[in-house]
């Protein structure tokens, strides 16, 4: 059975960049996305069958196991990158219960179910790589990102526990914690905010998504099993 790399949140931003990157490596990619963005659609057209797009709203947690089951009928998921995320920005005291639940669902509960469903198959095959995309806000307090940060902190801890449990079966689980990235999610930053971030970042610039792709490629394709359970901060030194 052909192997595939499963990437969530592939319609835009970092997920789209990751999808594009792994396609250039001639990997088969299954992109999970809530909607079919024009960018993904175009990638699919030019992928020569290397990109499969599965429309799935990850907020529909009950549908995820069946979604993975269907994908696994055609492909063996040899790697998973949990990249889908939603952000409800705002002071915690003003966040609605519904918003809190939705943020936790997509940023923590859905990746947990995805890890579980994919890891079950990896467990049988004795091989697999999982990369969870976390965030600076998973370890640092960022105003307005209380629940998002809590979800990412949870994802980081899940990464460590999964790594611990699955390492005997040749399955590595790591997380990448980017800082500010040039993506749709950061497009709301004002120019002043951007300059402040650059000033506070030792590299003096905002990290490019391509740099995250390089690290993801290393963790999925090249890294030995001994690198597992790690949360790698890739933020230009912002978190130092």
């Amino acid at each position: 059975m052909e192997e595939t790399l499963l990437i969530t949140g592939a319609s835009r931003g970092l997920g789209l960049a990751l999808t594009r990157h792994f396609l250039t490596l001639d990997r088969h990619v299954t992109a999970l996305s809530r909607t079919l963005s024009p960018e993904v659609s175009s990638l699919q057209s030019s992928s020569l069958g290397k990109l499969e797009v599965v429309l799935q709203d990850l907020a529909r947690l009950d549908q995820i196991p069946n979604c993975i089951r269907e994908i696994e009928r055609r492909f063996a998921c040899s790697a998973l990158i949990n990249c889908a995320a939603v952000v409800e920005d705002g002071l915690f005291v003003r966040q609605s219960s519904k918003g809190i639940a939705a943020t936790l669902a997509v940023n923590l509960h859905a990746p947990a179910i995805l890890c579980q469903e994919v890891a079950k198959r990896m467990l049988i095959r004795h091989e697999g790589r999982i990369v969870n995309i976390s965030s600076l806000s998973g370890s640092r307090a960022v105003r307005g990102l209380g629940i998002y940060g809590a979800a990412k902190a949870g994802l980081e801890q899940l990464t460590r526990v999964l790594a611990l449990e699955l390492a005997p079966r040749n399955i590595a689980v790591n997380a990448i914690a980017p800082g500010y990235l040039e993506t749709d999610m950061s497009s709301g930053l004002s120019e002043i905010q951007r300059e402040r971030i650059k000033a506070r970042t030792p590299t003096g610039r905002i990290t490019a998504t391509t740099e995250i792709c390089t690290l993801a490629e290393f963790l999925i394709v090249k890294a030995p099993l001994s690198i597992t359970g790690q949360v790698i901060h890739q933020d230009g030194g912002f978190s130092l």
Binding site: L123, I124, R169
Partner: protein, 97 residues
């Protein structure tokens, strides 16, 4: 239907379910370099010295191949390999219809 199938009980599961368990356990025994002689219906799980990941792998294998769910509570009364075959037989409702 054979006599063995009509007389099947949880402690005396249908041969097909024993075959499934036998196959799954045989794989684990090979992984752990344990003697195949341990593979009998009366063998108790404890004697196989499986760790929790071995058990998880075995159960997941059954779950995925039969599209069933084996809960922790289901495993409570399972001590012998034949108990597991009986349990899987009960849970595999599609085959029991």
């Amino acid at each position: 239907m054979s006599e063995a199938e009509t007389c099947a009980t949880s402690s005396n599961p249908r041969p097909v379910y024993w075959d499934l368990v036998e196959k799954g356990i045989a794989r684990l025994l090979r992984q752990k370099d344990l003697p195949p002689a341990l593979l009998t219906p009366e063998t108790v799980f404890v004697s196989l010295k499986l760790d929790s990941l071995d058990v998880a792998e075995m159960l997941v294998d059954f779950e995925l191949s039969l599209e069933i769910e084996i809960g922790a509570e289901d495993m409570a009364g399972v001590t012998k390999l034949s108990d597991l075959a009986g349990l899987i037989q009960r849970l595999d409702t599609s085959a029991n219809v």
